[in-house]
Symmetry: C2
Subunit: 312 residues, 2 copies
């Protein structure tokens, strides 16, 4: 079971011919989760060959237009496509009001429910989305206005059951195999067999952090902790570190320090200021701090496979 | 002085890979006027090589999202580009409230003024934009919700002054040439010379009508009257004429009848339902009624030159 991370837009406020407004898609088993939804995201989903109709949730970081103005159009289009299942929208509390004031977004107009998950200023940590296989948690970031970052994490799976080892230890009833996998201890001749004796180590799933727009901060580091992939605000280079402070953004080097301090595996830089024609200088600066850094490339997929961690 | 009409989006509610959401640009002397502003219009302006920073006015027909969700992003981007001149936004009165509820659109946030021109239900005709050289008027259309169509018209210019003819009639003082052009009658030996004696016929400017989304209606016909180019809703073909009635749209054939009855020169069909892979059948149906019909092609310019009418 792989998870594909696909940047749809890596521009900061001003879109250019090459860079679109903020959105990151995560595709897993044909379902799509979106982090931010700048204007044009519904077009970018088509450009990425992702099925617009399969967007299950949208996580909005903050209410600057370049991160959210595409939400109404996407929700409308889901309606046009005959969506019936609910769609989760998580974000700052004011987003709910914004949506309800938009023509076409009033309650009852869309043919499906929008389940709004509200984040309030002062929150510390919130689980905003959960399925049997994964969850998305939010934490506050440090921007000019109230902003949340997100972490998608697959749930940990139990280790693999080793039937040969169980037989060697004297377990003969096949029903006891199931009991051991359910965590029960089994009596055998001359003693007991614990689940730990016959189960491999727990298998950790993949995790992806989406940390923008923000100064380097504790919320970002926590979201990024040991993540397989971190997408982080790298609006500026070393040349404009003052501007990063003024505008509540990060330099590429600062993003790299967050990834390093969090013990993350890989870092994608994004949200580039339009003044940088190419992100290469930013990548070079970041790699001095955290070598496993790349620039996010729009529509270029990163495929994450948890089996690589399990040695399978 | 030419005027270029450039369809940016010809889709009805659901955008596809080939068709974008509603917007039509009119470019004249490097300035841009926009009719409707569906999501992604600011990207389409770049695709069309039009200067986003030179958008002087946006005319919104109605508050269905596919015609208006691109407005906030465009206004934001104008601010990012350092716009200082005011921008005119005309549309239904509720648009003003919608804008003010959007994060980033509050008064004082943009570095330029938005001059909102409000159209109220029940209006009959309104001049919504005027410069020395042209005006845009609005009239009500017939859709499911309150909708206005627009007509851009260059102002009529005086005829050309014929100095040889003036001399032949006995006008010798060069200052009298100017007086005649200003409409004064001049005394000469043996009588008078009227401006009509020495001025050619008035030179009519070009006019463009934007008529969508609507049933065929009187407002549409008036906007289209003797227009050089009419862009008209042609959401459906003959096969779905019932659906056109139900949804408050027009068939291609109905659009053609409007252009014919209005005495227009040319018709561009647009706002095609996504169910039509190609507009060719719609064009064929329309041409049976009004031969000078084409499908609007996104980013394909139509150049209008009033000198063609003047025989210059």
């Amino acid at each position: 079971m792989t998870t594909t991370v696909l940047p749809l837009g890596t521009a900061s406020a001003l879109p250019t011919r090459d860079r679109h407004l903020s959105a990151l898609a995560v595709e897993r088993k044909g379902r799509v989760l979106l982090f931010d939804c700048g204007e044009g995201t519904q077009y970018r989903l088509m450009d990425a060959d992702l099925n617009r109709a399969r967007v299950d949730a949208v996580f909005i970081t903050h209410l600057h237009g370049d991160h959210v103005y595409g939400l109404m159009g996407l929700l409308s289009t889901l309606g046009q496509l005959g969506r019936a299942e609910p769609v989760v929208v998580a974000g700052p509390a004011a987003l709910d009001r914004m949506l309800r004031e938009m023509p076409g977004m009033q309650h009852g107009w869309l043919p499906y429910d929008v389940e709004f998950v509200s984040l309030d200023e002062g929150f510390d940590r919130a689980c905003v989305y959960e399925t049997e296989e994964l969850s998305v948690t939010a934490r506050p970031l440090d921007h000019r206005i109230f902003t949340a970052g997100y972490r998608l994490a697959e749930k940990t799976r139990p280790g693999r059951f080793d039937p040969g080892r169980a037989r060697d230890l004297g377990v003969t009833d096949p029903r006891d195999f199931g009991r051991l996998q359910d965590g029960e201890t089994i009596d055998v001749e001359g003693g007991t067999v614990d689940p730990d004796d016959v189960m491999g180590p727990e298998r950790q799933g993949i995790s992806v952090a989406y940390v923008t727009d923000t100064r380097p901060c504790e919320g970002g580091r926590r979201l990024a902790r040991e993540a397989d992939l971190v997408y982080h605000d790298a609006t500026f280079g070393d040349d404009l570190s003052d501007r990063a402070v003024e505008t509540g953004h990060s330099t590429a080097r600062e993003a790299a320090a967050v990834a390093r301090d969090a013990g993350a595996q890989r870092l994608l830089l994004g949200h580039f200021s339009a003044r940088y024609d190419t992100p290469e200088p930013l990548v070079e600066q970041a790699r001095e701090v955290f070598p496993a850094t790349d620039a996010a490339v729009e529509l270029a997929p990163t495929v994450l496979d948890p089996r690589e961690k399990w040695g399978e």
